[in-house]
């Protein structure tokens, strides 16, 4: 899966979990600071990424993912 496709699907997941419109999600957006996620939603995001991409993210590493670009990079590396 190429990076662009990962990015599109990551944004879709974020939009669904955080209930924000996709066009308001910039590539560098921080889940908490820019998109208003709380701590519970941060955990929900990780779970949603795992389901979307059929992967298992190590908890400590997954919580270090704080921005859209972090998520795209992390998931791409994982898939490849």
């Amino acid at each position: 899966m190429d990076k662009n496709e990962v990015q599109v699907r990551v944004k879709k997941v974020i939009a669904k979990v955080l209930k924000v419109s996709e066009e308001n999600i910039s590539d560098e957006a921080n889940f908490i600071f820019d998109l208003g996620a709380d701590s519970l939603q941060s955990v929900e995001l990780v779970a949603a990424f795992e389901e979307e991409f059929q992967i298992e993210m190590a908890e400590d590493k997954a919580l270090e993912v704080q921005t859209v670009s972090d998520a795209v990079k992390f998931i791409s590396q994982y898939l490849n």
Binding site: I32, F33, L35, G36, D38, Q66
Partner: protein
């Protein structure tokens, strides 16, 4: 005041009295910290403008909400930040860009959690520094200012306290909420209330300087778990007290965990971190309290009533037992129960029943109503032999509890002498206590608490009257000589100085040390003794023997050549028996000092406060009697006087029970020299002069033995 300090104080003023506040991370989820912070600001009817910031909400509590703080069109004075620690740097960076100079960082997840938290704390400190910003926290409850012109409750406490004159600074947020609850029940008001959390930027020291000039604050209370800069805290407290007369009361918790560690010197063993803290607080004028109740018992005495002019108190009671209890407690605290003037006794005699006690303590008898209390209080408080009045009430069937409380309030407002009360009991006296507390008359559940609070105010007043005088440093000293000995020993990896070198360090500081020499044979010992003159003292010189007396390594009062030779042999035999591997340098020979009182002087370097100077009863039983006292170097005249007079040894030295009065002038000089040595030579970790023999008045003092640990 440097410009940095000035800017910080200005920023603290902004934090307490902002015109506008941005709440970064506010949300709509009731019962969460981000929501409660905003709710509290609104509930307190804050007099400025508040701007919630949240990237997802358009409005919170009907207030327009901004995505970022930089989006707010108006200028913002301070930010209250409740974002998680992982994005705190982004929030603070935007605050800096917005030109905000003060922040309250509520969120946890910093130094207190270790690891990445420590890095995050360093990161936000750097951002604040870059923008000239000051902040409270992180990891704190928040800030409250009850000034009606401000009405700021930027905290997640349950309720805003009443307005008052007490400022409270706490390192524990949870304790803050308990204190607020405690204070509310007693109608104790606050001027400022601040939880400093990790105190990464604004500390109790900065707040002391700010509160010094705060017109709403009369008394400052501090709860501390950790003191980051002991000398700076002492300086700040002293400045507040000396310049404004505002008392500073403090609880320092964690008293038991850092006791004195096993140490080679007596001073090292006796001067634990808590002793150092105690000494530092006393020296700075900080009134140390050991629990919240004691702190508030004293705080209300300071804030509600005038300070007493003396320590003579009158007690008025309607019950004999509590009167006696209070009398005992008063005497134990060092207070006096004076005899009344004849005119006072005359009024009491005329107005009270024959069965009443018209002397001090006055017993108005169990059936006393408000009129009896009134006449007793009014006449006694006018008596010029009386500096303060304690009023005790026990609820009998005919006791007019509320009327008596009103009467006390009325009389107290007419006189400038302190009146304290104790309405004993709980349910029946509750309404009376409420009247007293609302009218700012100090009330104590236990009557014995009244003398404890009173004596604290009396001692504080006395302390304000005695000014500290700086002491000129001695010029007849040779710092280089002392440094050279100490540095040489350190470079050789020595942990302590051999006695002959320790003596040289003291000689460099012109301590009264008698002439001496080292003998490596019987013959040398005899020759040296003949040269010095008898009587002689001989001591083993070995780096492997620390407590020489205990191993038979010391012989006193040697009067002839023959005794010198025998002593030399005995000392060597004893030491070899105790430790066959001990490396013996020889035997130290010194003229014996004439008889006098043995005291100990010592130094220990404390991690928080620096050089702790010890004084006390000396000799081999120092650690058994523990009659020692401490102060922090450098010492001034007042500190040295207190260092000596707070010990029992002081009475012995002054000639108690027919003993010869000793040379206090030379003793004080030795303590001043020791203080200077401790400041000049940080290489010294611990030092004992034990004993210092203090001769009779006018004849000086002499160092008999010394140890220096590096």
């Amino acid at each position: 005041m440097s410009s940095d300090v000035y800017d910080k104080i200005k920023n603290i003023e902004r934090i307490f009295c902002p015109q506008s506040i941005a709440v970064l991370g506010a949300n709509k989820v009731k019962g969460t910290v981000p929501s409660d912070i905003l709710t509290n600001i609104l509930k307190a009817e804050y007099k400025g403008v508040v701007y919630p910031v949240n990237p997802r909400e358009r409005h919170i509590s009907s207030i327009k909400t901004y995505k970022y703080v930089v989006d707010i069109e108006d200028p913002i004075d301070i930010a209250v930040i409740v974002y998680p620690s992982s994005v705190m740097h982004m929030a603070l960076e935007q605050c800096g860009q917005k030109g905000i100079k003060g922040a309250i960082i509520i969120s946890a997840g910093f130094k207190e959690v270790g690891g990445q938290g420590i890095e995050r704390e360093e990161q936000i400190k750097a951002i604040a520094k870059k923008y000239g910003m000051s902040f409270i926290g992180p990891n704190c409850l928040g800030v409250i200012n009850t000034d009606p012109a401000v009405m700021l409750d930027a905290s997640f406490a349950r309720k805003m306290p009443e307005e008052g004159n007490i400022a409270f600074i706490s390192q524990s947020g949870a304790l803050c909420t308990a204190v607020l609850d405690y204070a509310q029940a007693k109608h104790i008001g606050f001027s400022k209330f601040v939880s400093i959390g990790n105190k990464a930027d604004i500390s109790e020291i900065d707040l002391l300087y700010y509160l010094k000039d705060d017109p709403k604050t009369k008394v400052i209370l501090i709860y501390l778990e950790e003191i980051s800069d002991g000398p700076a805290l002492m300086k700040a407290a002293r400045t507040v007290i000396e310049e404004t007369g505002k008392p500073v009361l403090a609880i320092k918790s964690g008293r038991t965990k850092a006791g004195a560690s096993a140490a080679a010197s007596h001073t090292g063993s006796l001067a634990g971190s808590d002793e150092a803290c105690d000494a530092a607080f006393k020296q700075a004028g900080i009134i140390r309290c050991y629990d919240i109740e004691e702190m508030f018992n004293k705080a209300i005495a300071f804030t509600y009533q005038p300070l007493p002019n003396g320590k003579r108190v009158a007690i008025i009671t309607n019950a004999g037992g509590p009167g006696v209890l209070t009398t005992d407690a008063a005497i134990k605290c060092g207070l006096e129960l004076p005899k009344f003037l004849p005119e006072t006794t005359e009024i009491l005699k005329k107005s009270l029943p024959k069965t009443a006690n018209i002397n001090n303590p006055v017993d108005v008898i169990g059936d006393a109503r408000a009129d009896r209390y009134s006449v007793a209080i009014s006449s006694v408080i006018k008596d010029e032999n009386v500096d303060g009045v304690f009023i005790i009430l026990t609820p009998q069937s005919m006791t007019e509890i509320e009327s008596i409380a009103h009467e006390i309030t009325r009389v107290a407002s007419q006189f400038s002498k302190p009146i304290y009360t104790s309405f004993m009991g709980e349910a029946d006296v509750a309404a009376g206590i409420d009247i007293l507390q609302r009218n700012k008359i100090p009330h104590y559940i236990l009557p014995e608490s009244m003398p404890i609070a009173f004596v604290s105010t009396y001692q504080f007043k006395r302390m304000l009257e005695v000014k500290q005088e700086p002491v000129e440093p001695f010029k007849d000293i040779d710092i280089e000589a002392a440094h050279s000995i100490l540095n040489q020993a350190l470079s050789e990896g020595k942990k302590y100085l051999p006695e002959e070198e320790a003596v040289k360090v003291l000689e460099a500081y012109n301590f009264p040390v008698l002439k001496s020499g080292l003998a490596t044979s019987e013959e040398e010992a005899v020759n040296l003794s003949e040269e010095l003159g008898y009587p002689i003292v001989m001591k083993i010189m070995s780096e492997d023997i620390v407590h020489k007396f205990d191993v038979g390594g010391v012989v006193l009062d040697i009067k002839s050549k023959k005794e010198v030779a025998a002593a030399y042999k005995n000392i060597i035999t004893n030491v070899k028996k105790f430790n066959p591997a001990a490396k013996i340098k020889g035997v130290f020979v010194r003229k014996m000092i004439p008889p006098g009182e043995e005291v100990i002087l010592g130094v220990k370097r404390d991690n928080t406060f620096g050089a702790v100077v010890m004084f006390g009863l000396g000799g081999i039983f120092v650690e058994i009697y523990k009659d020692v006292n401490f102060r922090i170097a450098p010492l001034d005249n007042k500190s040295v006087d207190k260092l000596i007079t707070e010990t029992k040894a002081s009475e012995i030295l002054s000639g108690a029970r027919g003993r010869i009065p000793r040379d206090m002038k030379s003793l004080k000089e030795c303590i001043f020299r020791l203080s200077q040595l401790a400041i000049d030579c940080p290489q010294i970790k611990e030092l004992d002069i034990n004993p210092l023999i203090v001769l009779e008045d006018g004849k000086g003092s002499f160092v008999a033995d010394t140890k220096i640990m590096l």
